[in-house]
Amino acid sequence: MPVEHLVILGAILFCIGLFVVLTRKNAIAVLIGVELMLNASNINLVAFSHFDPDLLQGQVFALFVITVAAAEAAVALAIVVKVYQYFQTADLDKISELKG
Amino acid sequence: MTEHLLSYIIFIPLLASLVVALLPKRLADSYRLIAIVALGLSLVLSVVGVSLFDSDVTGLTNSEASLQMIEKVEWFSINLGSLGRFSVDYFLGVDGLNVSMLLLAAIVLFIGAISSWNIKNKRKGYFSLYLLLSSSVLGCFVALDFFLFYLFFEFMLLPMYFLIGIWGGPRKEYAAIKFFLYTLVGSILILIVMIGLYNSVYDPIKTGAEAGIFESISSATSDQISEVQTQVKLGNVSSENIVKSFNMISMANEDNYLPDSFLSKSSAAQVFGQSARWMAFLALLIGFAIKLPAFPFHTWLPDAHVEAPTPISVVLAGILLKIGGYGMIRTAFSFFPDSAYHYSWLIGFFGMFSIIYGALNALAQKDIKKLIAYSSVSHMGFVLLGLAALTVEGVSGAIYQMFSHGLISATLFLVAGVLYDRTQNRLIENYGGLAHQLPKYTVVVSIAFFASLGLPGFSGFIGELMVFLGAFKSASFIGAIPMWMPVVATLGLVLSAGYYLWTLQRMFFGKYWVKDAARHDNLKDLTLREYLMFVPLIAMIIWFGIFPGTLLDLISNSVEGFTQLMVQAVK
């Protein structure tokens, strides 16, 4: 099986994740998109690692990505909860403090 | 434990500084305790170090054999291709030239920490900066790699600037900036020479290892080292293999200069129409003379002293000035003994002039702290005079004078601080007959004043005597400075007696009178904490006045090695 297929899968997943991040109004939905993008990168890492069994770098870093993702999810959700409590909404549309 | 003694001495205050910085405000009362404990620990370790110091070690001060408690680790080393290698060591060690300074610094910093007890505002900042300052001062005295030395030297500036600028008196900003700029100018001069030296000096051991003359750095014997030196001299070592070095001990050895490099003896390089070595010596000399300070680079001192809070004045006068003198001995004189001889007349003259100029200025001062500041200028003149003599007595005298002035000026500034604490007033004319109200304080002041005016029995006398004997001997021994210089310089003794006794008479004798007496009619005599600072200081001043051997035994051999270096260069 050519490695391209997996890489393309990663690319597609990444773009779907990006699409979700860009279009969803709900903060948690955005988070889901981010998770998809992280997974896409993991697929790339593991796919190349498959051809380089001695070094296993890809797999190790995939593991790290998973860990970072977990940490990120935890912090992000905490922030979402806080933001929700503060603005009484998880709707990103209504949170526009950055408006110039 | 003794292996890393010096590192412990330096880094305990640094660690304490971090601890203070990290502790929450809630525990603000513990900062001063932490500072005192950390500096106390450093003091204890320094005393241990001094007691372990073997005063029988002899040798020229340009060989590492004359050092003790060496810690030498390569810090970083960068390959510069055809320019050779750039190598900086973490190199600490003590010999007779700096062991006394280390002890002095530890003592004064500790006393300074005690006198900081009453600091009220922004305590976290104060104590962490104070500890940072302590660490860099201590480091400065034991660092033997020029790069490391310079790092510590520069690192002192920053905390000092803030300590004066934030906790100082009314004109603190002016004083702080003046201090900063002055010292910075000195630093730049030193930096320039440092770069020049780096381009001229190589490390024979590392070069040998690099060029394959011997196996490893640790196995080098002295024969092999001289082999390397000959090879380099003959140009047999390719430039990629030459490891340039900041090692101050190597820099003091002529053989370690690359042939025909900018600052080597054989170099014909000229700067402003003068030999490059001479100019480099002058640059170092001026750089450290600013710190010392000698006429005409002294004007930062009165302002900095007057505006700084008492403990900072103590540290400033007690130790920071000594870095100027120590720096001259360790760098300027050691690296360029021939230039030192060439300029000795000038150095001696400025030493003599500083003595009299400082004393005359002190006579005219109205502010007691300014008076003490100018007396420091006067007393530091002795250091210059002693160094210029290039004799054993002169150089020992200079070091002894630095040590004793460290103790005495610390006492003097503490004394001034006691009064300022009580009345917020430093003008001499605002007081009279204090001896009635503050008898114990008067005793302490009199002791401090008499010690400072060079009365026998106090440490100041020994230093000044040695300087005089050495300076006078110089003319017939090595021909560095003429005989009339020390003779004229003795006038400083009369003048110092004049301004101290006059001050005593105006402030302490006569009828009791204090300006705005109503505001502080209840002047309190010394407190227990103040005794805690004065008693050990005075005890040490007297001890070193009666038993100078305690200190001179430690420094004697190294000073002899140092002066031999000078004598060799003159021949």
Partner: protein, 175 residues
Amino acid sequence: MTFATIILYCFIGLTLLSALYIAFTKNVLYAAFALILTFLGVAGIFMLIGAGFIAISQILVYVGGILVLIVFGVMLTNRLKGQQVTTPSYNKLLGLLVSGGLLFIFYKAIIEANFGAIKWIESAQPESPGLESFGMKLMTDYVLAFEVIGLLLLLALIGAVKIAAGARKEVEDAS
């Protein structure tokens, strides 16, 4: 084409389908459940290309951890009163355009790179290294990174708790 390859493509399909479902559903809760499927698909792919440990971690962390978090998040931030938790979307066209464009670029790049021709991939003998060697690697060559990442995780968790807890207090103060 071996059986394993077929299974692999099945997983790829599962992943893609569920991901697309996420992209187009409006219901956050459904999206979350679809995410489970995506994760499982990816895990399957990992398993089949010789990364068993990563696959297990994927299931444990993502399915067991993150998803639970997300679901709780959904529940905490939406007052569930019987109705569905939906999320409106905007910029749909633009988003589609941008992500489509990016995908196009990725695709072009991948095709042009021609990974199959790269020497070390060409010569490699795909095989599945054991869990043991993975463990050894982790505890020797990458031990520092491993420790650091552990610390990071710890700090992140503490931070998350602190943020969430602090928020409550502030709300109390505000009310």
